[in-house]
């Protein structure tokens, strides 16, 4: 009996129970590897985007540390826990969103944070990013698929209330993401195509209504500049012209790390937050951008696989919604920076600097991993 024998025996034992190390750790290796790759690559780009601000990279690394820790912890819980607590968290989220509006009104202005005195600033909308899909998946899966009309009505209400509250803040990007996460649950649950088509038709006919009564000036401006950034090249169009120039001038292979003139000379606005993919595109070219998108594709495919293999409706709906919402993150961000979507303020997931979004995203992947590794009851 010696040390080497002991080491050899361990994999055999786990094989016996047909559970890999990863499963016992409740982690999904493919997802984990792809997330880590995006996170590390993202920090490399961030270092350049902040013109070599190591402090920013450290702070980002700390967020990733917290995020990955949260992911690992959440992955240990059986999906049942989410089912049980989902409603409560959703309700708390609604209350906090109301609190934000109330305190915002007192502060005579719009705000997105809730200041916990002496502690930290907290963005309740981040909580809602997770609470919404959990809540809807739980609610719809209770009655089996496809949802009945009554369930649809309730779901629509559950969806509408937080989204409306967040639009008030105003935070178009986040409300868009939360709305998508809920809509994806309903779609995946089997909302009939007939209804989808008719709702889409209604939605399209609502566009003028939105334009006139709901959208704020800056939002309208963003849509207008999308169609022609040159309308206001030094104002609202500036961001989009500069980001397209940055990406386009990167060419096939890029200008080289830390050598992007658009980003290093500050022509590119918000280069380390929402527009960071323009830095990547400028310095690493088409090749670099495609590598990142491929990594995102790996994450999304893996997430879809986990969803399909989900043990019950709740797990499937939740995993599917989280994955599709992640895709929306990627698509909206890359789409807006490359000039095919209006600028709505969605960060590039796991790459853009800052905020609670990294922690929320990774916590969501924790749920995916929980679903993937808790197959049997």
């Amino acid at each position: 009996m010696n040390f080497t024998e002991y080491v050899r025996q361990l994999p055999q034992g786990s094989m016996d129970r047909r559970l890999s190390v990863w499963t016992r750790l409740h982690l999904d290796p493919y997802l984990f590897a792809a997330l880590l790759a995006v996170a590390l690559g993202g920090m490399v780009v961030l270092y350049s985007a902040t013109s070599g601000d190591m402090g920013a990279v450290y702070r980002q690394a700390i967020r990733f540390g917290i995020g990955f820790a949260a992911m690992i912890v959440i992955a240990q819980f059986d999906p049942r826990w989410f089912q049980q607590w989902g409603g409560t968290v959703y309700l708390i989220g609604i209350l906090l969103l109301v609190a934000v509006i109330v305190s915002g009104a007192q502060a005579m202005g719009a705000q997105r944070w809730l200041q916990i005195p002496g502690l930290f600033r907290f963005q309740p909308s981040e909580l809602m990013k997770l609470a919404m899909p959990v809540m809807l998946s739980w609610y719809i899966s209770r009655y089996g698929l496809p949802p009945r009309y009554r369930d649809l009505l309730v779901s629509a209400l559950l969806l509408f209330v937080p989204v409306a509250l967040i639009i008030q803040q105003p935070d178009l990007g986040t409300s868009l993401l939360i709305a998508s996460s809920g809509l994806f649950v309903i779609f995946l649950a089997g909302l009939s195509w007939k209804l989808i088509v008719s709702f889409s038709a209604i939605a399209i006919s609502m566009v003028p209504v939105l334009w006139i009564w709901v959208m704020r000036d800056y939002q309208r401006q963003r849509v207008l500049t999308l169609f022609d950034p040159n309308v206001d090249p030094l104002g609202a169009g500036w961001n989009i012209i500069q980001s397209m120039t940055a990406i386009g001038s990167g060419g096939l292979n890029g200008k080289g790390y830390m050598l992007g003139t658009q980003s290093q000379l500050d022509f590119l606005p918000e280069s380390h937050t929402d527009f960071i993919i323009a830095v990547l595109g400028e310095e690493f070219g088409f090749v670099g951008a495609v590598v990142l998108i491929a990594l995102y594709a790996v994450i999304i495919l893996r997430g879809m696989l986990i969803a399909i293999r989900g043990r019950d409706n709740f797990c499937r709906l939740l995993a599917g919604s989280l994955t599709l919402t992640f895709f929306i993150y990627v698509f909206v961000n890359v789409g807006m920076v490359s000039g095919i979507l209006p600028v709505v303020g969605v960060p590039l997931p796991l790459v853009s600097y800052g905020g609670t979004s990294i922690v929320t995203l990774l916590a969501g992947f924790g749920m995916l991993m929980s679903i993937s590794t808790h197959q049997r009851n």
Binding site: G248, S249, A307, L324
Partner: protein, 615 residues
């Protein structure tokens, strides 16, 4: 129940699977859109965006050339460039402008005038982000104070530039002219490229005349800037080509003496070197400090100068037009004797007046009772009017006009004097055009003593004197002696044709007659010629401004208001045999030419010739 439940579960699984399949297709398509978009931007449109990012970061900044220097004939610097610090504010980058200006007022000395002009310019038309100057010519201490407090002064900048400086100030204000800020009007027809980075332009005098040569050519630097316009590094640099330096014939010391001679009297002195046509001195008094034009005139000083009855902005040397008076007589006499209207021995008896044969009108001599029997030589020396009345009547207008024209009256003969007036050398056509009357015999009489319609500038009289000293040989009058731009000398135009006499000895005889003016026993200006160590020639002139009561010597009776007093003229050259300098002096309302302008001429000659001997 269990079966149906299992059935249901299988159905739900299939439903979900189909939805995931639909999602997969949806995602795959949109991913392709993203990749396609990136491909379009980065590969298809790469060149377009590449060019765009280059123009974003690269900027071409002009480097203004150094303006050419101006020297006098002995290398004395008359116009130089000195570094100056300008305090300006970029309004768009500053916060509360009033507070900022107050704050700056604690650091640098600011006059109310400077502050109010600053705010005028802020409110007026300006380009965004254009620095608006608040104060020019900061002292070194002020520069240091502003620099030390820079971080608290948002939007404030101190720029160093070379600005024009005229060390001799007023003395040369009219001769050299000055530069000033380019104004809106000039901006309109300016070659913008040539003036990139240059804020000043020659406005008058030599500075204006030789503007193109003094300016030089701007250089440029291609720089990389960040989005806020700060220069990160210089990529390419082409040095500017400095403007050409000018060496003028002007003689700084002579100019100063001439300026001092005029003192507080309005007038002008022009001196020319007959050999070269070089203008040695060109003074107009009063002057003004040309440096104030460069830095910007304080309003009250400018208004005071503009409204002054002494009219200091008038360059009397070339734009002051006066009756030439008796200084014209040598030219007329020369023509008369050479063309046979009189001989040197011919005499008349002057009883103090002249009467036209066809008219009752009487033309008085300045000397009541007349000069008695006079020949041409005496007529010149004593400035006998009657002699020249008769000569002019005999010669008729055309011959007189012609000789005046040959000596350069009524036209500009200078090469590079900026914007001179031409004076008037009247003719029949001129009078008909100008006044609508035909020419009368009386007009010719007036012409003989340089009165009536005839007007000349001090520059013209100095030039004519120089040609007379040269025995008729013309050399184009000029300021420029040489320059490092040799092509400038080639641009000096040809002079008018020389004045040819039938009998060359008439030159010397006229010179002698003019010597009698200052060194003869009866010369009008013999007092001013006393004790000269050299022979010289001269001629006085006293130009009537208004008809006033006079005594038997032609001097005014009683106290005449200054502006009605006669203009005093004197012209002359020295030394007699080999003229080195020809001079015309005019003192406005100075009174008697021989008494006022004659001594000034003598002083100039004394200085000029004695200094020559010393060297």
């Amino acid at each position: 129940m269990l079966n149906s439940s299992l059935d249901n579960r299988e159905k739900e699984r299939r439903l979900f699977l189909s939805r995931m399949t639909a999602s997969f297709i949806f995602i795959a398509l949109l991913m392709l859109v993203l990749v396609g978009r990136l491909f379009y931007l980065q590969v298809v449109q790469n060149e377009h965006h590449e060019a765009r990012s280059q123009t974003n970061r690269l900027e071409v900044l002009p480097i203004p050339p150094i303006r050419g220097l101006i020297y006098d004939r002995y290398g004395e610097l008359l116009a130089r460039n000195e570094p100056s610090h300008t305090l300006s504010i970029v309004v768009e980058r500053s916060g509360d402008l009033d507070a900022l200006v107050r704050e700056l007022g604690d650091l640098v000395e600011l006059s109310e005038d400077q502050v109010s002009r600053f705010f005028d310019r802020v409110r007026g038309y300006r380009r965004p982000f254009e620095p608006i100057p608040l104060k020019v010519r900061l002292s070194e201490i002020e520069v240091a104070r502003v620099s030390a407090n820079r971080i608290f002064l948002e939007g404030v900048q101190v720029d160093a530039e070379l600005i024009r400086q005229y060390p001799f100030g007023e003395e040369f204000a009219h001769a050299l002219g000055f530069v000033g800020r380019i104004n809106q009007e000039e901006l309109r027809d300016l070659d913008v490229g040539a003036y990139a980075g240059t804020r000043f332009i020659g406005k008058e005098g030599v500075e204006r005349q030789y503007e193109d040569s003094l300016l030089g050519e701007p250089g440029f630097q291609r720089v990389e800037t960040n989005a806020r316009g700060r220069i990160i590094r210089i990529i390419e640099k082409q040095a500017p080509k400095p403007g050409s330096n000018l060496h003028l014939y002007l003689d700084q010391e002579l100019q100063k003496i001439a300026y001092d001679l005029l003192g507080d009297q309005r007038g002008s002195i022009v001196a020319i070197e007959p050999e070269t046509g070089g203008i040695l001195a060109m003074v107009s008094n009063p002057g003004f400090d040309p440096n104030l034009y460069v830095s910007g005139f304080p309003t009250e000083i400018y208004n005071a100068l503009r409204d002054s009855p002494d009219n200091p902005f008038l360059n009397r040397a070339i734009r002051g037009q006066y009756p030439a008076a008796s200084t014209i007589k040598p030219f007329l006499g020369l023509a008369g004797v050479d063309q046979g209207f009189v001989t040197w021995d011919h005499t008349i008896i002057d009883r103090g007046y002249y009467q036209l044969p066809t008219d009752d009108r009487i033309y008085n001599d300045w000397k009541r009772g007349g000069h008695g029997r006079v020949n041409l030589r005496r007529a010149v020396a004593e400035s006998c009017d009657t002699y020249f009345y008769k000569l002019a009547y005999d010669m008729k207008l055309e011959a007189i006009h012609d000789i005046y024209d040959q000596f350069g009256f009524g036209k500009n003969t200078t090469a590079d004097v900026y914007n001179p007036f031409t004076g008037i050398n009247p003719s029949r056509e001129w009078k008909q055009d100008r006044h609508g009357f035909s020419w009368y015999a009386g007009d010719t009489i007036n012409l003989s003593i340089g009165q009536g319609y005839m007007l000349a500038t001090p520059m013209q009289l100095a030039i004519a004197t120089s040609v007379l000293a040269n025995r008729g040989r013309w050399v184009t009058p000029r300021l420029l002696m040489h320059s490092n731009d040799e092509s400038l000398l080639e641009k000096i135009p040809e002079p008018p044709p020389d004045v040819h006499l039938n009998n060359d000895s008439n030159w010397d005889r006229m010179h002698s007659a003019m010597q009698d003016v200052v060194q003869g026993t009866r010369g009008t200006a013999r007092a001013s010629g006393l004790g000269a160590t050299y022979d010289y020639a001269g001629k006085s002139g006293t130009a009537q401004v208004i008809r006033i009561e006079r005594d038997e010597n032609g001097d005014p009776v009683g106290d005449v208001p200054e502006q009605f007093r006669d203009h005093a003229w004197f012209m002359g050259f020295a030394p007699l045999e080999d003229p080195k300098i020809a001079v015309a002096v005019l003192v406005e309302n100075g009174g008697s030419g021989s008494g006022v302008a004659g001594p000034m001429t003598r002083s100039l000659f004394d200085f000029y010739l004695n200094r020559e001997l010393e060297q």
